[in-house]
């Protein structure tokens, strides 16, 4: 059996998304900026995709900008938001994705902003009192807090954070890469100034993402050249990527509650089975609390064992199970997860992120629990 439990890193594309994309590689290949019919038919497809995305998020099409992915979208909002508004101070947390953390650290290094990190406790909760304190002494800050953490799955209360930021005149950006396509976002009520998506996290294409920026915020481009994306993002549009991400989001919304129920069931069963069958198992962050974490992510902490120390992911792979220790972006680095380090996780224990999609099954969960029992010498 081959089990793919690394869906927070990337997901398999839905066949219907691929189907929607193929015609734009074969027959409708024009450059959307060309005025002839080859170009115009492709332009129509892009604008239809934008309208679809906007409709699903309850936003206006003029607030949606297509990018090459979540990382570019995060960089655009943060770097250009800071520059356009002359923002002097930024606030984020130590457990953000590197697309946010490294970008803001770089801005700080270049002397563009002073960077403050809001306190996070050992469960991964943002200290909202500390956030307010930081905002009070630094009004008009750029605040970047993710909707849900990619490693431990903790979900933050964007409404509460957004209201706080608004009270102090800040710019609120949220990295929503892990919740887009899995949770509904109603941008008429959600108090964020910008948020992002990466298509490949919800069965859409890699190399395609989007940035939402609220109408009243106007920022300058990040990539210059050409009038594409209403002068906000130069470069010939990735037509198949744009068609694909819109289709993927549409499919995600079509049966979100069905997907959610299916995956939640897997996750609950996984948690229960591990608690019953693996002695001394625990869970990092709030990932075992169904109400407070992504239904797609479970970060498991396993006790020290000589056979598995530093080898658990390798051993899982030998048994056909694909999971990860943290973010794929840093999985090459030997430094380990910056998120778990911030949570002061016991380095003696082994942490594994299992992340699920609607394509996973209960058999795969049972198989994985069985293999973990074998690896930890638990009698059958």
């Amino acid at each position: 059996m081959r089990v793919y439990f690394d869906n927070a890193a990337t997901t398999a594309m839905d066949g219907r998304v691929v189907e929607a994309m193929i015609p734009f590689m074969k027959d409708h290949y024009g450059n959307p900026s060309s005025v002839h019919s080859h170009g115009r038919e492709v332009r129509t497809a892009i604008e239809r995709a934008r309208k679809k995305v906007a409709e699903l998020l309850n936003a206006s099409p003029s607030e949606i900008f297509f990018t090459s992915g979540g990382t570019e979208a995060d960089n655009t909002a943060l770097v250009c938001g800071i520059e356009t508004y002359g923002i002097q101070h930024a606030i984020t947390s130590a457990i953000e994705h590197h697309a946010v953390l490294h970008t803001l650290e770089h801005c700080a290094q270049k002397g563009k902003v002073k960077l403050s990190l809001v306190k996070v406790n050992e469960k991964g909760d943002i200290d909202l009192d500390h956030l307010e304190e930081l905002l009070r002494s630094n009004p008009n800050s750029m605040v970047s807090i993710m909707h849900a953490n990619n490693e431990i799955g903790n979900i933050n209360d964007l409404s509460a954070i957004g209201k706080l930021v608004k009270n102090y005149g800040g710019f609120f950006h949220s990295d929503t890469v892990q919740t887009m396509g899995h949770y509904e976002h109603d941008l008429k009520t959600l108090p964020v100034d910008s948020l992002v998506a990466g298509g490949h996290k919800f069965h859409g294409p890699k190399g395609s993402g989007f940035l939402y920026i609220r109408k009243d915020k106007k920022i300058h481009p990040f990539i210059y050249g050409g009038a594409q994306e209403r002068n906000m993002r130069g470069g010939t549009e990735n037509v198949i990527g744009i068609v694909g991400i819109a289709k993927a989001l549409e499919l995600a919304y079509e049966d979100m509650s069905g997907h959610r129920a299916h995956i939640e069931n897997l996750k609950k069963h996984f948690i229960e089975s591990l608690k019953q069958q693996i002695p001394e198992v625990s869970f990092n962050g709030r990932s075992a609390e169904m109400q407070h974490s992504l239904y797609t992510v479970l970060n498991v902490s396993l006790p020290y064992s000589e056979e598995n120390s530093g080898m658990l992911l390798f051993n899982l792979d030998l048994n056909g199970i694909s999971a990860s220790g943290g973010s794929a972006c840093s999985s090459g680095a030997s430094v380990g997860s910056h998120v778990l380090r911030s949570l002061k996780a016991d380095p003696q224990r082994e942490s594994v992120r299992f992340s699920f999609s609607r394509f996973n099954t209960i058999e795969e969960v049972n198989y994985t629990v069985e293999k973990l029992k074998e690896l930890y010498g638990v009698p059958a």
Binding site: D6, A9, T10, A12, M13, V17, V18, I22, M25, Y29, G30, N31, S33, S34, V35, H36, S37, H38, G39, S68, G69, T71, E72, D74, N75, H98, A99, H102, H106, K110, G198, K206, G207, S208, P221, I223, Y224, G225, G226, A227, Q228, G234, G235, T236, E237, N238, G241, L313, F314, D317, I321, S322, A323, S324, A328, C329, S330, S331, G332, A333
Partner: protein
Amino acid sequence: MQYPVYLDYNATTPCHPDVLEKMVPWFSQHFGNAASKNHPYGWIAEDAVEQAREQIAQLIGVKSKEVIFTSGATESINLAIQGIFNAYTNENQHFITCATEHKAVLDTFAYLESKGAEVTYLGVNSKGEIDLSELQACIQTNTKMIALMWANNETGIIHPIQKIAQIAAEKQIIFFTDAVQAVGKINLDIEGIHLLALSAHKFYGPKGVGALYIRHNHPLPKPAPLIWGGGHEKTFRSGTLNVPGIVGMGEAAAIRLQNMQIENRRLALLRDRLENRLLEINGTQLNGSKANRLTHVSNISFAGVEGEEFLRMLNKKIAVSSGSACTSISPKPSHVLAAMGIDSDLGRASVRFSLGLDTTEEKVDAAISHVKESLSVLRS
């Protein structure tokens, strides 16, 4: 004959059928994140990316480790120009480019000017050629980069890249070239070039993927990253890799390496047939030098017609443009032709014909007769 006849290959090209076929398995079957280090989904994706990198390196004649994947040439150009500007901090910086560059270069320099950089825009003669002694004369002690395109997208004019590279080398200045229209079309001698931008969709690969060649083994600075995050692409470019796009680009490069020479000879004959017949018509003129020029491009002005009306009529049966696709929405005459001293009315009534894989003699003849018909209607 199927209308409209596509003669706008400089704007974009259709994906080669073999490219599409190579890409399909990477959407839903081998969908791993190339940065996932703990399981075969990631390893397989990473291998595919490295193979594509090798294919592209072979096409342009560089080492594969010097090729960085991006979302397209515009991003590559921004990374090269903004990246060098950011690599030198707190200095008065001077850059040299040319008035006939692509918007992606010109707009990026305009942004640098707004940040305090000094930019010299070289002029061109009526044939679209730069004057090398003028280039030499405007080099200053604080000149950080010479940015000149390999081949012009509107006229096909090829700059004397080797001589420019020599001048840059003598003065120890970074030489960046936008080679979007040259890669996969002509043999490239990259000696002395520090940075080179390319795009897949201009040589029968997919949109949304490009690359930047970053030469190693020289003492001048390398560009600072534009997009920050997980540290992909040796930290030059963060963001999950667009694996299917990259695989497609690699395959497209391999095909071009095989077919380029034969295809060029075929297209040269067809282009000359088209050009000679059109230049026989009264009140037409060729824009740009006939000598150093891409073999598949012809830019012709038609006197005595109003440009916009003419183009609209042409577009009923031929997909051509009056200049770059990226500026084709704008009613202004081409900045390239303006720099060559062509007056604005004639500039607006100029047409870029660019030929490619599916161009046949029959299609060329159909285009010729439609141009003649349109002219006789509009000139009567």
